[in-house]
Symmetry: C2
Subunit: 195 residues, 2 copies
DNA sequence: GTTCGCCTTCCTACTAGTAGGTAGACAAAC
DNA sequence: GTTTGTCTACCTACTAGTAGGAAGGCGAAC
């Protein structure tokens, strides 16, 4: 029994894929209107202002991401697997083009001209992701799976930057395989056997 | 004897800083008009269409970058120094906020909805930068300065991704120091003494 | 069990303002 | 005397957002 997505969910879904493609200024209420066959004014009924729509969208994205990362902690056996599943998730998103970029990475690039309510939430997502990576690396070190050159929080920032930079290169050069070509070696280098 | 910048150069300068802040859709002819005290129509005299303006801008940026990277090869003694000067350049750009992001990295994030003439040029810049980094790493290996885990071209892609990802993190978290905190260790890991 | 009022959702029709772009006049420079 | 650069004035299309109303669901009052 699959419940049909509500109108506001459909609006957020479309808006998200439009943001992934072109950022905050890269979509309009008219674009969403065309995509889901509803009038512009009806979208304003659900989300009075654009900044609010995107703020809700980022909240939803952050919560989904947090839930996904949490379930990775519970399902994947070791920190090494947790990291591997995380990048495998993005690899498949990029390779089947279902979501070829992180919404928050996209918005972060426009940080300087984002409404405050959106900028705040994007920043929170970066902090959450960095914290998750830090804890996974930390656990890996404690279990003797990883040998890090730096403190876990520094190494986590390096890894996060690699992931976002790899997404960007894959997009810039039109080569989805570039993502894993960049990120794969990066996590391989963290393994205890590397030195 | 310093020649005064021409109007078209001033237009490109302003457009560049606006793109760095908000991307292709983040600026308008009216914004440029306000910034340099000239009418919108006068900008259209120099650059009939927006896509053309940005294409010229990216051409100029790519040529400046190529010249800068070339002079780094000539001025810096060793490949290790060349790499160091390259990231020092970006560190200072980010820390004094003169240019806190790479124009082409910014545009690359919007690749999917860029006019063809712009997308083409952005992609070319990525290829140029990757090629430069590859040749520097290659030279470093030949001189026994670097020990790489991967082929130079792969390692160059990883380094480029790190640089762009570090810019993004610095911006997202509002912490300019994060750039060097991420990229510094990354190039330190390439040095022959690391293993 | 039907009428009443409220709420949700969507609609048509509109606003003020901004987008990129054009036409043509004018003045100075070559 | 033509080219170059700027201007005023304008255009069409699109932007986010608003006003006001129609259709239907739902629970309580009668």
């Amino acid at each position: 029994m699959k419940s049909v997505a509500s109108t506001s969910d459909k609006i957020l879904d479309v808006a998200q894929s439009l943001i992934v493609a072109g950022g905050y200024n890269g979509f309009s209420y008219a674009d969403i209107s065309d995509a889901i066959g509803i009038r512009k004014a009806s979208i304003h009924h659900h989300f009075p202002a654009k900044a609010e729509l995107v703020a809700v969208l980022v909240d939803r994205y952050t919560m989904q991401a947090q839930a996904g990362l949490q379930s990775l902690l519970e399902q994947a056996a070791s920190p090494a697997d947790q990291l591997q599943f995380y990048i495998d998730y993005w690899r498949s998103c990029i390779e089947n083009a279902s979501q070829p970029f992180c919404v928050c990475a996209m918005l972060a690039s426009e940080m300087q001209m984002l409404p405050d309510e959106v900028a705040l939430r994007v920043r929170a997502h970066f902090r959450n992701l960095a914290a998750w990576l830090t804890s996974v690396l930390q656990s890996g070190v404690e279990q003797g799976l990883f040998r890090l050159d730096r403190r876990p929080e520094e190494q986590a920032q390096m890894l996060m930057a690699s992931v976002h930079g790899a997404m960007l290169s894959a997009r810039a050069l039109g080569d989805p395989g570039l993502f894993i070509a960049v990120v794969g070696p990066e996590i391989a280098g963290l393994r205890a056997s590397s030195c």
